[in-house]
Amino acid sequence: MPDSSPATAPVPATAPPPSLPVLFGSFLSVGLLGFGGVLPLARRMIVDQRRWLSAAEFTDTLSLCQFLPGANICNVAVTLGGRWHGPAGSVTALCGLLAAPIAVVITLGAVYLRWRGEPVVAHAFAGLSAAASGLVLSTGVRIASPIRNRPRAIAVTAATVAALVLLRLPLFVVLILLVPISIALNRRQA
């Protein structure tokens, strides 16, 4: 439904910006509950549950954050926190997002490094690693679907894989060489 009759809408399109403690708490819960990718959970919290942004505003923010270097979800936290509360908001959202996951991952890492000599732990990690590699493969195949009918884009993708896997070129070199070529080849898609 287009937003043409706001008078009949029972809830406003977006809620007022959160306070710093609410910001911290909500990013904390997203970080803690976000298994296998935080982004979908963050979108649900920000757009559907808290109504801090409309769906279009979220997409716009996300496309900026994917465009900039760094971890996408961290960039989302920095952008939204900063929009509402300046630098303090950015730091609050980022700390909320990362505090619990860092504690969990360090604890698990310490357990792994302490007991990896045990056969059961070593075998469990062999299985976990194999499954995780399959997870990344499936992500690659899934995000490849928008380019599957574009031979030029597929050629760039194949060149990227070959440069990294077969030639083992540094990422910096791959990006410097292939990004300009890819932009030139795919400009009609924009």
């Binding site: 970080g31 803690l32 298994f35 296998g36 935080v38 496309s63 900026l64 994917q66 465009f67 270097p69 760094g70 971890a71 996408n72 961290c74 960039n75 920095v78 950015s90 990362l98 860092i102 991952v105 360090i106 890492g109 792994y112 490094l113 059961v120 469990a124 990690f125 062999a126 299985g127 976990l128 690693s129 194999a130 499954a131 590699s133 399959g134 990344v136 499936s138 992500t139 690659g140 195949v141 995000i143 490849a144 380019i147 884009a153 597929i154 194949a158 990227t160 894989v161 990294l164 896997v165 540094p170 990422l171 910096f172 990006l175 990004v179 890819s182 932009i183 080849l185 795919n186 400009r187």
Partner: protein
Amino acid sequence: MSGSPLPTLALLFTELSMLAIGGANALVPEMQRQVQAEGWMQPSEFAALFALAQASPGPNMLVVTLVGWQVAGFSGALTATAAFIVPSSILTYVVAGVWQRFREARWRRVVQAGLTPVTVGLILAAGVLLCRAAVSDVPTLLLSLGTAAILLATGLHPLWLLAAGAALGAAGLL
């Protein structure tokens, strides 16, 4: 290696974060290459740390924290994480302020259309390299490819398959 590895960690992960155009998984090929070149760990150890980060809650960039932990303990974990997050966050903060001005600009869509095929290649390369590091025999190969196939064919949550992989391994079936 002589001296503290902390400056190397800081430099490496700041540099990596600036190259992260397709999210943290796109950095896996480079991260794996660098930690091996520094003599910090073998590809199989890196694959295990990566798997651990995948199985943990939170952003999947946390493999950065684990690499830092493995190299230099707690201070290494903090250094690597901060180096990865702080410079790119400052950049994001600054750019987000002026973003509205050029979000409809054509050059931005042109660049984005060019970046997408490269990003896809980065993630696929990450999958292939992790697979090569984690797969040691036919059962682990089947587990890796089977996980990918099941995830593509069903809407199953990845955590179930990671747990199943760990359980199969612990049970001595691999």
